[in-house]
Subunit: 346 residues, 2 copies
Amino acid sequence: MTETQQRIAVDAMGGDDAPEAIVAGALRAAQANPAVEIQLYGDEAAIKQALADKTLPTNIVIIHAPEKIASDDEPVRAIRQKKDASMVMAARAVKAGEADAFISAGNSGALLASGLLIVGRMKGIERPGFMATLPNLSQIGEQWLLIDSGANTESKAKHLVQYARMGYTYAQVVQQKPNPSVGLLNNGSEASKGNDLTKAAYDLLAAEESIRFVGNIEARDVLAGAADVVVADGFTGNAVLKAVEGTSSQVMHVIKDTLKSGGLGTKMGALLIQKQLKATLKDLDYNKAGGAILFGVKAPVIKCHGSANADNIFYGIQQAVSILDAQIVPELTDIFADQAKQEKGE
Amino acid sequence: MTETQQRIAVDAMGGDDAPEAIVAGALRAAQANPAVEIQLYGDEAAIKQALADKTLPTNIVIIHAPEKIASDDEPVRAIRQKKDASMVMAARAVKAGEADAFISAGNSGALLASGLLIVGRMKGIERPGFMATLPNLSQIGEQWLLIDSGANTESKAKHLVQYARMGYTYAQVVQQKPNPSVGLLNNGSEASKGNDLTKAAYDLLAAEESIRFVGNIEARDVLAGAADVVVADGFTGNAVLKAVEGTSSQVMHVIKDTLKSGGLGTKMGALLIQKQLKATLKDLDYNKAGGAILFGVKAPVIKCHGSANADNIFYGIQQAVSILDAQIVPELTDIFADQAKQEKGE
């Protein structure tokens, strides 16, 4: 193992379909990235059972964790009391420098607390935020970012500016967009619109020279790719993320039901369009976007959906690999350390 | 004209396709409701041109308004300075008792200001809110209500309780649901979740005996009919409304594009499913839901989409007729007057 090898800590016990889905996703990722070490934290017997008769690739390590955090555990108390829980051990590995990033599909609040209290905040960042990657429905294959998608329930205007800088840097460095646009989620497109928070954030963002601010974005236009990075307070960002995900899945469900419930003609038609429709739905598949990144902590921390399947875990690990390859965390660390110094007048 | 005849004031000049779409919708509504008087406020020549060679039904009255409010006018200034604008004249007719309700697809802010400053607030209501009607995708044909969907940018917990009572009463009296459920839009389903506002609102709603409170609702579940009435602060409610509308329309757009762009098989399949799919999409058509009702003012004030077509205006007028038939405004007036008295200790 060389110094530059990436090591990714995976909480094998978090999520509705853990450990099976997590182990299956990790196996795929290990095969796709032979130079990356994947550390599976969890109940050793359960992980081995999930592996069944598959040979363990040499780049997967199992680290036994005798406890696990439940989805209804109170987050901060859980990470303090269950020191040998799979999620806590994975976070501690990052803190100790034994892993470079960590991923979990478990209790979101506990993941957030692990990121803040174990991995630790970057200097200069007060409130790390979750950044979600979503599909652009006007240009299939393109993606946009929503930050904060739910780490915080109360935000200040200056936090939104930090999200803007983090999202902008990610879009440049990881997504390789040369000059990504940054928009502010608001209740109207005019500059004068908004509540106290968005009005104050608008002024700060417009004055921020390190990003390309394109003004206010309404929630109806986000999926059409109105901006590469959409900045929001965590409460509204979370509501919009869930509304977008819920609506997509429910509209597709209604359409599938329509095709099934129709007469013979409809059923024949459904068979004919099946292949093409499946290809489109695959493009819109949220699982392929990986997870939400907790941005503003000292290492990449990725939250996959509670209902994550193997695909979602695979893409979450791929995302961690891309983030580590792009060295975005050291870059952000420099940016915010400089800013913190300037603010102190050093 | 008897005392009990309903008179509905329609702003013929508001909306992207005014006056044509408005006049066409009003004509349909006049034919469907021969006992209702429809007052069209706007440029008389333009309205007559929109009528073309159609005979004016006897229950439509044209009232010339020499001015109109533009979509980018500053709302409060516009309604103060343009006293002879179609929207302002329609609101003044309601205030003067010459009309019983008013409808516009014009500038939302100006409509809100007309409602608050000309029609006037109900006693006991501090912050009237917009209530939107949305389809329940789990039970096609059923609808749910979202209040406040965007009248206010800052809300207090006690305003959310008033929205809950207004929505509950509307669902009972107009939608004839015997015991509608009321949920609070929040970032998680557990009682402990939320920001300062939703935590405070949760406690007040749980203690409110006049409604059936079912707890927190996440934005991903609203379209699946998680509650008959979903209460939100106006900023988040607006974001969720727009996210739901934008996502539905963009997902359907992607599916339509898929069917068009495929090979011969897909095109044939698309033809076969067309009829069934159109029937489903019709059920989901937001235009059929009418408009957003400004609730908490002294008469029904209805805001149709800026892009309203004739269908939307027709359903908006039908909605006004139902609200007037159900006499919900007098009922709410009593409820909140009683409450205001109790709070004063009278």
